[in-house]
Symmetry: D2
Subunit: 380 residues, 4 copies
Amino acid sequence: MNRKLRMGMIGGGTGSFIGDVHRKASSIDGMIELVCGAFSSTAEKSIQSGKDLFLAENRCYGSYEEMILKEKELPKEERMDFVAIVTPNHMHFPPAKMALENGFHVVCDKPMTLTLEEAIELEAIIEKSGKLFALTHNYPANPMVKQAKALVDHGDLGTIRKVQVQYLQGWLSTDLETTGQKQAAWRVDPSKSGIGGALGDIGTHAENLVEYITGLKITEIAADLGRFGKGRVLDDDGNLLLRLENGAKGTMSISQIALGEENNLAIKVYGTKGSIEWHQENPNELVTRWLDEPLKIYTPNGNKLYPSAQISRIPAGHPEGYLEAFATVYKNFATHLIAKLKGETIDQPDYPTAKDGLRGMKFIYAAVESDKNNSIWTKI
Amino acid sequence: MNRKLRMGMIGGGTGSFIGDVHRKASSIDGMIELVCGAFSSTAEKSIQSGKDLFLAENRCYGSYEEMILKEKELPKEERMDFVAIVTPNHMHFPPAKMALENGFHVVCDKPMTLTLEEAIELEAIIEKSGKLFALTHNYPANPMVKQAKALVDHGDLGTIRKVQVQYLQGWLSTDLETTGQKQAAWRVDPSKSGIGGALGDIGTHAENLVEYITGLKITEIAADLGRFGKGRVLDDDGNLLLRLENGAKGTMSISQIALGEENNLAIKVYGTKGSIEWHQENPNELVTRWLDEPLKIYTPNGNKLYPSAQISRIPAGHPEGYLEAFATVYKNFATHLIAKLKGETIDQPDYPTAKDGLRGMKFIYAAVESDKNNSIWTKI
Amino acid sequence: MNRKLRMGMIGGGTGSFIGDVHRKASSIDGMIELVCGAFSSTAEKSIQSGKDLFLAENRCYGSYEEMILKEKELPKEERMDFVAIVTPNHMHFPPAKMALENGFHVVCDKPMTLTLEEAIELEAIIEKSGKLFALTHNYPANPMVKQAKALVDHGDLGTIRKVQVQYLQGWLSTDLETTGQKQAAWRVDPSKSGIGGALGDIGTHAENLVEYITGLKITEIAADLGRFGKGRVLDDDGNLLLRLENGAKGTMSISQIALGEENNLAIKVYGTKGSIEWHQENPNELVTRWLDEPLKIYTPNGNKLYPSAQISRIPAGHPEGYLEAFATVYKNFATHLIAKLKGETIDQPDYPTAKDGLRGMKFIYAAVESDKNNSIWTKI
Amino acid sequence: MNRKLRMGMIGGGTGSFIGDVHRKASSIDGMIELVCGAFSSTAEKSIQSGKDLFLAENRCYGSYEEMILKEKELPKEERMDFVAIVTPNHMHFPPAKMALENGFHVVCDKPMTLTLEEAIELEAIIEKSGKLFALTHNYPANPMVKQAKALVDHGDLGTIRKVQVQYLQGWLSTDLETTGQKQAAWRVDPSKSGIGGALGDIGTHAENLVEYITGLKITEIAADLGRFGKGRVLDDDGNLLLRLENGAKGTMSISQIALGEENNLAIKVYGTKGSIEWHQENPNELVTRWLDEPLKIYTPNGNKLYPSAQISRIPAGHPEGYLEAFATVYKNFATHLIAKLKGETIDQPDYPTAKDGLRGMKFIYAAVESDKNNSIWTKI
């Protein structure tokens, strides 16, 4: 199989934020090429988007249904291998289901689905299909997050006692959705976002990061959600207490009305032997603290990294960013898919799957339920 | 009254941490001199401590009772003006009460008392006595905290929506109290600390800082306390949700088992027009964020400070620290006391009083109650 | 011209650092595809490298000469549009010359050539050829460097008085070249690097950044070069005084033996009205200082950027890194080339050219001369 | 000798910057009391200053001559032990000489004298007098500078190869001296400052810090001085190359026209085994880099400090600042003086002396000479 993987995109028309991210991220490592897309809700717009991307007109479709069906009929050596779903939340499940049931692998943006029911159903569909499914929780793909996880896994931190996680943005501080801003409009609309606002958009990232690094499940949460924007029915802010399966405790603070914050995802994990601290906005440092040693800062391709963290593409001191981590999700998915297509059996590379997606949906539902019940502890 | 104020110290024998802090802080501005002390539980030890401080033997007393009674009999031009109480919590109320009732002003370390009942009683005693009472919540005395408060007070941040406060230490990560370490021993002992462990020691600082900067009361909290050290009955960790009187929400994370953290008190306040962020360990920066402006960092004696923040003793760029802020509490108290002794009437300078102390005790009690009730929302 | 540009690569076989960087950077924006390469010194190795890159065997050449000649004979709709030269310094000029003279545009790594004579000749060849030539000084392509330049250009900093630039690495602290490390081996070898060691490798980046941001030429330098590694004949360290054409003064410190430094390129520029500070390792902040304002920090896609700095691909707070800036050089070159191929006339997008390359070579020569003359001031 | 040391101050009238610093710094540790002063040029002003300091009128003198003579006649148990000289540079030598020759110990601000000749003479006077002399280079007294020195002294950094030091201020960016600002006025006046402007005021601190930490002498320098302020005859900016006695090289950048900089003294030292970096504005961190280890940050009272660095007065995480370091100079001087007065022989505590003062003056003279000779290398 000496060729690049062929990707079809669902959503992500010209001007889209996350569609463009998926395109750039999937192209960095030279393993994937975009061959077709149902970028927009009309064929015309889709073709226009495709043109900007140097795609042939006949591979630009007016709907995901059309794309899946037509691609399926293309000769094997031409048709797409997998779809990348980059639409708003309510349009994750239908195309994912259809793609899987028609023999295509899937990369899907998060949160996995609109509802918990869909998530449960999708997990079953994936299993039945035998196809690969990747969920683009990109943050765990940062080298320094890998190092944090490796420190936990090797027992270097001892027993985890305390976790602090925050994901703070300020872009919905004003009532941006009333200005025609599309990104804002769908995110505050329950029919497109689901029952969680900030919870789904960024809370799931925070939840996923905690469980990824610690290897521990969050078992219950107590949530106090805010709806600060005028007329908002979905949360734009959340303050949560966390309890983890091993008895560790913690806090989660998420917000899209934390004025002036850009994309401040950060986590601290405290153990009985060591602690870690990582900030997404400064991703190339992993701060660690120790009982008897000075504070130590690990860096990508720097000294004394565990093998799983040695994934940087460039030498130490050459900063990596958001796109590189996102690209690693695609790279690991592509590595897996290529092996599968070759009929090889390999250990699954480290990328998020439907399991992560289901955890995320359960987290959203538990948080909303706790909030409705004046923040009582609620099981995830 | 062309003389320094005369201070008598209760507690703070040789080797004490906080007693030494009070002595250094009270001496920086040249307005106060230490003239006597009941430093330890025996006259012998007290005299030894006094010797190291170049005090006359006859001004080193074996008990606070003795000191108060003997000093009261000294000629007016010789006897102490006020006492500084730097003992563990259970020894705050008795000497404070006796000093006030015998005509001495009081500076007292926090938390104000062992119990809420004592705090209420002490407030009444102070009022009745007509004497001054300062509680050494030192953190609000940092210039950059003053600037943060001024930004709020002038409406620059708009309406406050969200608060995040943390006070993280790691020094009780191990079971230090079993090693004979005195500081640790009394802090984990309810008979000396009261019903709050980390809550009283550092939580009250966090609570005080939130209310000081925002000018808003925390009306209710939901608390999940941890007791991670072996055999500890008092909290050594706490995760709290906050609701403020204006509808703002927030989190508080406190810990003395956050391994590797030194003295990480930090606060973020988000409003509808601007936001602030301050870190005690890097106290000479106030980070601010704005709707339409780049991030701005204020510095002591730097550009564009409000007058109330222009309290630095040294030029911009010459870092100030913990002792300087502590000294400002003493300086403002001393300024007030000098005016009072001169018979002048002045606006009370900005230092914490029994009101702050009572809030702190109520906070501890509400947190403990919430925790007992599986973190239900509890009014302060 | 609805197609991607076609790139042929010279150098950059499997395991190469900078070749891989060029491949990734050129692919991010979906405007360029790699179609052929002379990756190594033998056809066999070249084919192996090409395989990893999913290239057809017949487009993997054993030498750049072969590639240029064979590609030239391919049908227009198939053959490469430009070459990317990613070989060691001594192999920049010959392929660049040949490519240009055979009708291909060129992207070339820095420093431009092995010798100053070659640089002068190359500039003439480029002009005569009418082809585009881009030199991959990637650092000016960072959004925050663009903002710095814009602040200068708009006069916001007033008159520039002082510049401080450093480019510090530590990877040659040990005698790495004796261990078989290829990157180290050619860099300390004058026949491959030219007369400058650290000067050529990183000093030219520092020089370029100063002139780019300030818009001022460095007119003379006083250089004290170090050769700390055992047996090294080329500089591995340099300390320089700078004088700029407007009377501004400054320092430059470069090193590859600054143990522990990873890739610490940083610059400060001080004017009569404002100042800027930028660090490559933390590229998403531009620190600025002002006469009467607090320190302000600009961020990519953040508030109040000049249009020329609004080039980020992702929203504020999503960190960009080394590859993204590198990609911008390719993007701007590609935009230019596409316009040219379409016969359109556009303003040249902002990417470094042979002018920058020539300045760099003159800088190296002046520094070496000054050093030979015990650091006397030497004109560039 | 169970009493505080008695200090008389020369200069430092109300409103003075450095006089106030000396008073606060000398009082923090409770070992020194201010008993008299010749604060201003008239008795009247001096008395007014003394009043603010709660001094008796008869101990406030109209001139240093009067103070020295009158204090000498006071009974031993009352008269001052030493003088603190906090006047502009031209008024360092005369009172220092007179004090020493009349039996008083001396603490003196830097630079030590107005001219190199005075410095040489003063050193002889001190030696002859048998009195103690401390020069208040305060920066080496920071705990993290002590740790840096200890790392060098213990060989942890290996052989020093490169040094980068900067001391950047911006307060003379405008022509402040024309506005009646006293601090600015004398500093730009050669009759009061000597032949160095920024060189004397801050360059000597930079030079002293390099030699203190590395234990190496700067043997020669190449200096390019700037005089950017209108009409200034003294340097307000300087860029220097350094050569150290062991073959190490480096740069020094000093400025008082680096607009927006507050008090940015920073140093990096690179060895063959490790490196250190320290910033005065963030003094409670010592950044260290290592061949095979991650970056490590030491903190005051934190883990793994050498004994000589364990001098913090407060627990880890409680920031120390400028005054605390300054106080340490006084504390060490006082410890020495008390021992001497008691007739005890002790190792000299670590505080700067006339040797440092003489190095500083030689540095100023070499820099000015180099600059006059178009930056040729000049021996210190």
